[in-house]
């Protein structure tokens, strides 16, 4: 799997992502500077976590307008899978590549902790490494992860099976207590219509090594590497 990671000046999980992709694919990801519109041919594009341009405006709002994102949109239009994690998810919604928006966490504070996710759809290029309904433990670390969309969009996401991950408890049950940020319908990640774009708030790239205290994020990257090889 050949991959590219978009590097904004404020990206800060670009190296974590680099490690995860390297580990899964055995290939070195291309690091693409935000000012560049050139990008080599790749099988996967990742928009990583961080604070793109500081995010003093709405998180991801400026990132969505960067030169590199023009290329991301163009490649995505041609069917190249795009993964946005945390700030990457925020940027993809701001860029109109995914519906809805990420608002300030309901608790009004940054939150960094381990959460449980339920894999809602294992039939995509991103989730083939997981079983349907599998519960995985990965961390979140964000200030603006409160997923919001209008009722029609939410219904559409649900009807078309476009919800990728939901926050659940360790037993896999949705509850208010298992929702770290107030997201509607406990949504942690969603797909676009063609399931070629995935945005999620949690960080599977920080759960790929026993030293992280868990390796349940690995499935995402290994699934991708197998599907895209």
């Amino acid at each position: 799997m050949r991959s590219a990671i978009i590097v904004f000046p404020g990206s800060n999980r670009d190296r974590d992502m680099q490690l995860a992709l390297r580990q899964a694919s055995g290939q070195e990801p291309h690091m693409v500077w935000h000012k560049d519109t050139d990008m080599p041919e790749v099988d996967l594009i990742v928009v990583p976590g961080g604070f793109s341009y500081g995010d003093y405006l709405r998180a991801g709002a400026m990132g969505a307008l960067s030169p590199a994102m023009r290329t991301v949109k163009e490649r995505s239009g041609k069917g190249v899978p795009v993964l946005g994690v945390c700030n990457g998810f925020q940027i993809l919604t701001e860029a109109g590549m995914l519906p809805g928006a990420l608002m300030r966490n309901a608790g009004l504070k940054f939150i960094c902790k381990q959460v449980h996710l339920r894999v809602e759809s294992a039939q995509t290029v991103f989730t083939s490494g997981y079983a349907q309904g599998q519960v995985i433990r990965v961390p979140v670390a964000h200030n603006d992860g409160n997923y919001f969309a209008d009722p029609d969009t939410l219904k559409h996401l649900e009807d078309r099976d476009l919800i990728a991950f939901r926050y659940v408890d360790a037993e896999g049950a949705e509850s208010e207590g298992s929702n770290p940020n107030g997201s509607q319908m406990n949504i942690a990640g969603i797909y676009n219509e063609s399931r070629t774009v995935l945005g999620l708030m949690p960080h599977p790239e920080d759960a790929i090594d026993p030293l992280h205290g868990g390796i349940e994020g690995k499935g995402l990257f290994h699934g991708l590497a197998q599907a895209l090889n």
């Binding site: 940054f110 960094c112 920080d206 992280h212």
Partner: protein, 739 residues
């Protein structure tokens, strides 16, 4: 030359924090009356914050050398060799005064400042830590200060993408008017790529990079060198405003430039901004420096030389670059959209010369400015000894289980989850042990190694006996590092005290530094960097003496890392550092005495540094051999609290403790005798035999058991679920009550 005339009256001198005799020295150096800019430069360079004038005499007594020390105190941060061609670079620094006035920005810029101190030496920061002290929870400002400080630390560290992995928080009314915010950064560099601040090469260009200079933070260093009074809030404009995104750019740009061969010397502009960076760089190099202030990138028009020199705007660096490298260096900063301006040149005059609008606005000889900085041997009276308090004088609790719950839910011991969940402790993907353990553990990429890092201080011990308290702070970091399996290598210290002009306070400083030095020598654990924050008083009320120690250790194989969580039903619990016939414990100056008996009194538990070292060496060897499954040092709250914390960390295992049937059992359970660890082991006989062979007493005190109960001799003390609820509840409930 034209020097703008400003009348330098006694009042102007006093406003600049210079004492009349200090001003006389200044006049002698200058040979004439200074102008306002020159006075301002002397004022900040000779402030307590920059000159360490009250503490220097005592700081010199600390051990600073060891074979693994590459750079001791005197640089932006200290450097140690950690093998495989790598160095750990670290320092702790206070931002107490600004954080009290404007908690969010004060704490944020504290983090920003210490990060720059570390990356200016060529290191990529890999861990942030902090030591916080707040006033009584009942004080009306405390919630606001906690919320702001925690928000500021998180806001800065989370954005720049350096994990905040450990910290400590205490509450005490002595901090009502002076909170403490000490921030520590640990970075990683190659030993052959370390950058220093001493300028070299007359004619070399002086380059300013980073954010533009504004009018913020003027006189921050002088503010930090005075007591507070009721007008302190009017000093808000002296607090700087942080921009972590710009710092991220500066970090990446500096590291990118450092990979090339352009830099001769580099220093961040921290306290006293352009003044201290230019004076210190040229001064250390034995050179002169000439700056054209018209070339300094500024945020606003009409700034005077005085304002430009004294501004503490954040996210700026000063560099000396090699001849012919300007274009290459500029390209890096262009890439990161940061200002890059050649603002001056190194000279051989030995003077700092400042030009603006075509005129010389200041000219000061550097040697005397740096070397003649006042140094005081201030009068000091030793702290009178506190009485020893016997356990028999202290009432036993009605129930050990209830006492345990009270301790684990008191402000000083309740879970800090509410705080550390606001910090990104995982970014960079190298956090092996995050907040909530003994020391945090951060792995080093592409090696098997990991660094153990911790910050500690027990002010109630220091106030009762500064020498014991100073030594205990060192020993506590030593223990926390050993408990992960890592070898403690060096420390950084942050001396937070009241007004040194008062002999009793000076006595605390002297005592604490002596104790610290003694412990560092006994443990081969040198001090390689540090910071001093004095005048932490409001309306004559000083803080508790708080000499915070930040410790760093090395674990050669991260796979050996040990955590505090209990692992297996049936394993034995052994106390290392305690005899098997012990039925009592040291309750003087303990958390139990304060929280259960309502007394703050008594001498603190004594330290035996020889045994401390043996115990630490033994613990590391036991962990390295896989002889123990879990390890936790015994500190605040004593043995029973330690076992309870180990059970809580496991989330699923309880423990039975063999509480002695003696009238002093509460001393045994909650006494804070030093130099002890609780270990979990499948083979207690062998662990005890190895301890005794190493000259360290050890005793089997219980065992791990399945289920939700902590029991004493098989009788229920308290359920872990109840204990957990109480332990976790206090801080969130406290913060929510103010909303």
């Amino acid at each position: 030359m034209t020097i703008p005339s400003t009348s330098i009256t006694d009042a102007v001198v006093a406003e600049h924090g210079l004492k009349p005799d200090e001003y006389q020295v200044l006049l002698k150096i200058m040979g004439r009356e200074p102008n306002l800019t020159e006075l301002g430069i002397f004022s900040v360079m000779w402030s307590e914050h920059c000159s360490y004038k009250s503490s220097k005499r005592w700081l010199k007594t600390l051990p600073t050398e060891a074979p693994h020390v590459i750079q001791g105190p005197g640089e932006n941060a200290g450097v140690i060799d950690i093998g495989e061609g790598l160095a750990a670079i670290f320092k702790i620094e206070s931002h107490n005064h600004p954080s009290f006035i404007e908690p969010y920005q004060g704490a944020a810029t504290g983090v920003g400042g210490i990060l720059r101190d570390v990356f200016t030496m060529g290191a990529r920061p890999i861990a942030n830590l902090n030591a916080l002290r707040f006033g009584s929870p009942d004080h009306p400002k405390t919630r606001h200060l906690i919320s702001g400080v925690v928000g500021g630390i998180g806001g800065y560290g989370n954005c720049i993408g350096v994990p905040t992995v450990a910290g400590e928080v205490n509450f005490h009314p002595a901090y009502d008017g002076n909170i403490l915010v000490n921030a520590m950064t640990v970075g990683l560099a190659k030993t052959d790529k370390i950058f220093y601040s001493a300028a070299a090469g007359p004619g070399n260009a002086v380059v300013y990079v980073g954010a533009k200079t504004g009018r913020d933070g003027i006189h921050g260093a002088t503010m930090a060198s005075k007591e507070f009074d009721e007008d302190s809030e009017e000093k808000r404009p002296t607090v700087q405003v942080g921009d972590p995104f710009t710092e991220k750019l500066l970090l990446e740009a500096c590291l990118e430039l450092m990979a090339k061969d352009c830099i001769v010397a580099i220093q961040d502009m921290g306290a006293a901004g352009l003044t201290s960076s230019s004076v210190e760089m040229a001064g250390k190099g034995g050179l002169g420096i000439e700056l054209d202030l018209d070339k300094v990138p500024v945020r606003e028009t009409g700034m005077t030389a005085y304002e430009i020199m004294l501004s503490e705007s954040q996210e700026r660096m000063l560099m000396i670059i090699k001849p012919g490298t300007e274009a290459e260096a500029r390209a890096v900063f262009d890439k990161w959209d940061l200002d890059f301006a050649v603002i001056g040149v190194l000279t051989e005059t030995g003077n700092i010369v400042l030009k603006k609008d075509g005129d010389v606005q200041a000219e000061i000889p550097l040697d005397p400015l740096v070397d003649a900085a006042p140094e005081y041997d201030r009068p000091h009276t030793p702290t009178p000894p506190s009485p020893m308090i016997e356990t028999a004088e202290i009432p036993a609790p009605g129930s050990l289980g209830e006492a345990l719950a009270t301790l684990l839910s008191c402000p000083d011991m309740a879970s800090r989850r509410w705080i550390w969940e606001q910090y990104d402790s995982l970014v960079m993907g190298d956090t092996v042990i995050g907040p909530g353990g003994d020391a945090a553990l951060v792995r080093i990429q592409d090696t098997k190694r990991a660094l153990a890092v911790t910050v500690d201080c027990t002010p109630r011990y220091v106030v009762a006996d500064p020498a014991v308290g100073g030594a205990q702070a060192v020993a506590e970091t030593w223990r926390n590092i050993c408990a992960t399996g890592a070898k403690p290598l060096a420390v950084t210290n942050n001396l937070n005290f009241g007004n040194p002009e008062r002999p009793a306070i000076m006595g605390q400083i002297v005592g604490a530094v002596q104790g610290m030095g003694e412990a560092c020598r006994a443990l081969d654990y040198p001090v390689i960097s540090g910071n001093v924050s004095l005048y932490n008083e409001t309306e004559g009320k000083p803080i508790l003496p708080t000499p915070v120690i930040g410790g760093v250790g090395l674990l050669e194989d991260v796979a050996d890392a040990c955590t505090i969580a209990l692992k297996s039903d049936g394993n034995a619990l052994v106390v290392i550092g305690q005899r098997s016939d012990t039925v009592d414990g040291w309750l003087g100056a303990s958390i139990y005495l304060r929280e259960i008996a309502g007394r703050e009194a008594g001498a603190p538990p004594p330290l035996d540094l020889v045994r401390e070292r043996k115990a630490g060496d033994l613990i590391r060897s036991l962990i390295g051999n896989g002889a123990v499954a879990a390890c936790h040092d015994i500190s605040d709250g004593g043995l029973l609290v330690t076992v309870a914390e180990m059970a809580l960390a496991s989330g699923k295992l309880g423990a039975d403790v063999a509480v002695p049937s003696a009238e002093t059992a509460h001393g045994w359970c909650f006494g804070e005798d030093q130099g002890r660890y609780v270990v979990e082991t499948a083979d207690p006989d062998s662990v005890i035999a190895r301890s005794e062979a190493a000259g360290v007493p050890a005793a089997r005190i219980g065992q791990v058991q399945a289920g939700d109960q902590l029991t004493g001799n098989g009788v229920a003390l308290i359920s872990l679920s109840e204990l957990k609820t109480k332990h976790e509840a206090w801080l969130p409930a406290y913060m929510a009550a103010g909303a």
